[in-house]
């Protein structure tokens, strides 16, 4: 290559550098200086006005077509009424968004999330790391219509203090597709083993890495515990003592095992699971990766027992043709975990005004009625119905639909036999112990 050519070549290379530089500047443009906006002193009208034209990123689990359709409807309504552009970010797991928020918080950059659908350990992690916007509940006008049920104001024993807003309630509800002659008169967790002995391979549950699998284990932990109060206090973690006690170079043999560790390791839960696992689908060698896969196996007839946090899940799935029409819902006699799911705004949200307007809209009568309708989603409302007129209350009456299907849990049974969520610090040891015993 001659010198003249090189000159030209150098020009071209510098042109490329210029392009890359532009790209870098473009990156920088996206990186706004992290400024926490204090909007607590503004009136609602000002917030709504400021929210017009903003873009709000709503991060929510995206695995259900019914929920996705509901969010699409919200998107259209929000654009019509408030001129806000809602961008739905479908998540395969809420943890991915939480990890992202925490990493962004650590690097002091604005959050990529504006509104997050969250509860449980995810909320605790965000709260402990001071990654939440603050008291958002008192900023929205529709807070006055929310029920006073204490379940809605604490998330897995942690008081929400307005940092998240309840969106819906849930209770672990079982359903089965046994024929009339096989129907179980009374169902409790000992019947589960008995029934699995008669019909082996008809039940399974997701691994505890999934929220539903973990909730199933927590229900069993509670039911089989003699001292239930202990579960509501924090788990005293001494990670060094979680092994079998052998000297592996990491643990200090002089440590005394905390009572929680002894309790967890020798808990009747593991004996129960040791009995149950050989009776599970594929003898407990394979577990569904998540709740959705368990429902898929159920709808395909591989298993005949399953569970969900949505009491209307069975109706919903029958209506869309996935579940057999003989599906019947029930709650075990000992009760199951009940909780609420919430909406929150991370601290570094880029458009908190639009996020607040979105949350306020999701708590409106219009949005809650549609959410509670099993045709669209079937998630129970968090509104206090007595605060509405009779005509408005009648919008929540889905009795006609519920009575058509044996799948539906009769309305009086919803919210009965509930077990409150206990301290979320028990989750990690429970997952680790389960993995140590059964992970493949």
């Amino acid at each position: 290559m001659c010198t003249v050519q090189l000159k030209k070549m150098k020009l071209m290379v510098f042109f490329l550098y210029a392009c890359l530089g532009l790209m870098y500047v473009n990156c920088t443009k996206q990186v706004m200086v992290l400024e926490y906006q204090d909007i607590s002193t503004r009136t609602w009208e000002t917030i709504v006005e400021e929210a017009r034209g903003q873009e709000v990123f709503f991060n929510a689990w995206g695995g259900s077509s019914t929920i996705n359709s509901y969010i699409e409807w919200v998107k259209a309504r929000l654009a019509d009424v408030y001129q806000i552009k809602l961008v739905f970010v479908p998540l395969d797991t809420t943890g991915s968004a939480v990890t992202r928020i925490l990493q962004e918080r650590a690097s002091e950059s604005p959050s990529s999330v504006d509104v997050l659908w969250v509860n449980g350990q995810n909320f605790r992690s965000l709260a402990e790391n001071d990654a939440l916007f603050g008291d958002i509940l008192n900023l929205i006008p529709n807070k006055d219509n929310i029920s006073a049920n204490p379940l809605l104001y604490q998330d897995f024993t942690l008081p929400t203090m307005g940092r998240e807003v309840p969106w819906g309630t849930a209770q672990l509800t079982f359903f089965h597709s046994y024929g009339d002659q096989e129907k179980i008169a009374v169902f409790d967790f000992s019947t589960l083993i008995l029934n699995s002995q008669i019909f082996p391979g008809t039940f399974t549950y997701p691994t505890p890495l999934d929220f539903h699998g973990l909730s199933f284990l927590k229900t069993l932990l509670y039911v089989l515990s003699s001292d239930k109060d202990l579960l509501f206090s924090p788990y005293q973690v001494h990670m060094d003592t979680m092994t079998d006690g052998s000297d592996d170079g990491f643990s200090d043999s002089s440590d005394v095992l905390p009572i929680e560790n002894e309790l967890l390791k020798a808990h009747p839960l593991w004996k129960y699971l040791d009995t149950l696992h050989p009776l599970l689908y594929q003898k407990g060698e394979v577990f569904p990766i998540n709740h959705a896969e368990m429902l898929e196996w159920y709808s395909d007839g591989l298993i005949r027992y399953a569970f969900s946090f949505n009491p209307y899940e069975a109706i919903n799935k029958i209506l869309d043709g996935s579940f057999p029409k003989t599906t019947t819902s029930f709650v075990p006699q000992e009760g199951t975990l009940a909780n609420a799911h919430f909406l929150t705004i991370p601290k570094g949200s880029r458009s908190p005004q639009a996020a607040l307007v979105l949350i306020n809209f999701l708590l409106s009568l219009e949005a809650q009625v549609r959410k509670a309708d099993p045709k669209f989603w079937g998630d129970p409302t968090v509104l206090e119905l007595s605060r509405f007129s009779v005509e408005q209350q009648s919008q929540f009456a889905f009795d006609d639909m519920v009575s058509q299907y044996p799948a539906a849990l009769p309305p009086p049974e919803i919210g009965v036999n509930t077990i409150p969520e206990f301290h979320s610090s028990w989750e990690l040891p429970l997952i680790e112990e389960w993995q140590r015993r059964y992970a493949r």
Partner: protein, 586 residues
């Protein structure tokens, strides 16, 4: 110090004042520096990310050493053992396919490019979805067996499905470099020479040529092996869990809200990179030994005739196989996308409805637009980067080394590389932007584009450009009027391939994009967590149609260009000739 620096800068930029050889050495030195700078800028996220990753992981483990014990207790060894079984199996199948396709190519079957195009059109994720619909316990196979009253079908084929999908993803990537190898005149001469010595077509290929081709494809085989270690998106769809796939496990732990588990994921990612390093070294050594062994074989009469007969009609069979496979994937996806109700064990849906496909289309239009923009930018930067780097290194003995250094980026497992890149963008606070995602994609797209263009660029006859200089035109004129027009079909093919690679990027988009930047693949994998078959199928159909449209569009352009390039070059040279002549007359 400052004076030395000034002197160095002056030496770099000042005009030479010595003999021609000294000037050329200076030019080469400058070029090396420019290439090094360019590569550093392009691959900054990977280079810095890896450093940040190791610092963070080592500091984390030093602070909480118990994470190592939890790691051992977490049965990770089973997942890693599974990897060490999967990698050789996939490699053997890929080598067998190279053997068959190479033979077809060397016999002059141009139709093999149909197979390549079919594989390029079919996104690997769609293959995974279709296989899951086919093989799962209530999939089509189980339904058909049930219809014939055959019971007892138990699906244990996650590993097979995973292997098949990986092969579908990696084979098109190997075919094009294979094509370049086969077109090499030395190879063709040896092939013909072996036949004059009495070898049949088959034995000449198998004994004389194939070992040489295979030896040259070792870097690509290493890339195949490394990708096979920790695929995430495919494993999510196919639900590999007995044992759980390494990539999926790392991602799941990384996204759980527990710092200890995140650190465990980092330790696993560090082991993944060590494992891939071991596998790469192993392949390098083993293939070298095999090469010596195979070429030492004597040809026997029996072998000669068997090869000749066996592979007589392979070209058409290969094409038929791939076309049918693609159609099967499309049919399965369309059936599920249109099925309103499809209860087990019915072989066909009970009710049909296009509602979900239409609603998916409405939702996904902005996502499709964004996917195309990201893919186009990544591919454009990738192709331009390759052209600049190669042009700067032209004629140097270092060209091949630079190629291998860039290719070595593909030898870093995806999940590890993504965590590193994410660390970099988090530290520089540039994550969650379109540019960051494009930059992250370039880390993978550019090496792939180089693989696609390397053969063409090294074979390019620069005498065409010299003839332009002789006619009095400058370098830019030669590049714009001759170099680029002659290479345009190959450049476009590389651009298309770069776009397809970008469309297939999952982990880098989900990590770096932070949910704000969405592509069709990210949507599809997010939907897979809900196991809604109709939703998955309809998104899969849209992804497949998008790739089909892209490939058809580019192929039409390339076809048109190939026809017109020759004419255009002739016109240009005649115009230049006329101008020169007129000037001469004056």
């Amino acid at each position: 110090m400052a004076a030395t620096l000034r002197a160095l800068i002056a030496r770099f930029f000042n005009k030479h004042s010595g003999s021609r050889s000294i000037a050329n050495t200076r030019i080469k030195e400058r070029n090396y520096v420019l290439v090094a700078l360019l590569s550093c800028v392009l691959f900054l996220p990977s280079i810095c990310g890896i450093c940040i990753f190791f610092v963070r992981t080592i500091v984390g483990v030093a602070k909480t050493p118990e994470v190592l014990r939890d790691f051992v207790a977490g049965n990770w060894w089973k997942s890693f053992l599974d990897v060490t079984i999967r990698v050789p199996v996939v490699l053997v199948v890929v080598i067998m396919m190279i053997f068959v396709l190479g033979f077809v190519l060397i016999k002059g079957h141009r139709t093999v490019s149909i197979s390549q195009m079919v594989l390029m059109v079919t996104p690997h994720i769609c293959v995974a979805v279709a296989l899951s619909f086919l093989l799962f316990p209530t999939g089509l196979i189980a339904r058909v067996l049930q219809a014939f009253s055959v019971s007892g079908y138990e699906y244990r084929g996650t590993r097979i499905a995973l292997g098949l999908t990986l092969i579908c993803k990696m084979v098109p990537f190997v075919i094009l470099p294979l094509l370049h190898q086969i077109r090499d005149k030395t190879i063709l001469r040896e092939y013909q020479f072996a036949q004059t010595l009495g070898h049949s077509e088959g034995s000449a290929w198998a004994i004389v040529v194939f070992p040489q081709v295979l030896y040259k494809l070792i870097p690509l085989l290493c890339v195949v092996a490394v990708y096979t270690i920790s695929p995430v998106d495919i494993s999510f769809i196919l639900g590999s869990r007995d044992p759980a796939a390494v990539g999926v496990r790392i991602q799941q732990l990384y996204f759980l809200p527990f710092a200890q588990l995140r650190l465990q994921a980092r330790v696993a990612a560090a082991i993944v990179i060590l494992l891939s390093l071991g596998i790469v070294i192993g392949i390098w050594k083993l293939t070298g030994a095999l090469n010596t062994g195979i070429t030492g074989l004597s040809s026997r009469g029996a072998i000669r005739t068997v090869w000749g007969k066996c592979f007589g009609a392979t070209g058409h069979v290969t094409n038929m196989f791939f076309v049918l496979a693609m159609l099967a994937v499309m049919v399965i996806l369309c059936m599920w996308a249109y099925a309103r109700r499809w209860e087990y064990p019915s072989v066909f849906p009970q009710e049909w409805d296009a509602g979900i496909l239409m609603s998916s289309w409405k939702t996904l239009v902005p996502v499709i637009e964004q996917s195309i923009v990201i893919a186009a930018w990544s591919a454009a930067i990738g192709v331009c980067g390759v052209l600049f780097i190669h042009e700067l290194m032209r004629g140097s003995y270092m060209t091949k080394n630079v190629f291998f250094v860039i290719l070595s980026l593909l030898l870093i497992p995806d999940i590890f590389k993504t965590i590193c890149i994410n660390d970099f963008f988090l530290l520089t606070r540039r994550h969650g932007s379109m540019s960051a995602v494009i930059w992250a994609h370039v880390q993978t797209v550019l090496p792939y584009c180089y693989v696609m263009l390397y053969g063409t660029l090294t074979r390019f006859n620069y005498r065409y450009m010299h003839s332009v200089y002789l006619l009095g035109k400058n370098y830019m004129h030669a590049v714009i009027r001759v170099y680029i027009p002659l290479l345009l079909p190959e450049i476009m093919l590389a651009f298309l391939f770069g776009m397809l690679v970008s469309l297939g990027q999952y982990t880098s988009t989900i990590f770096v994009g932070g949910g704000r930047i969405q592509t069709l693949l990210v949507w599809l994998v997010s939907l897979s967590s809900g196991r809604d078959r109709r939703l998955l199928a309809s998104t899969g159909v849209l992804l497949m149609l998008l790739q089909l449209a892209l490939v058809l569009c580019f192929l039409a352009c390339i076809f048109y260009l190939r026809r017109s390039t020759l004419l255009q070059s002739l016109k240009t040279s005649s115009r230049v000739y006329k101008t020169r002549r007129q000037e001469g007359i004056r």
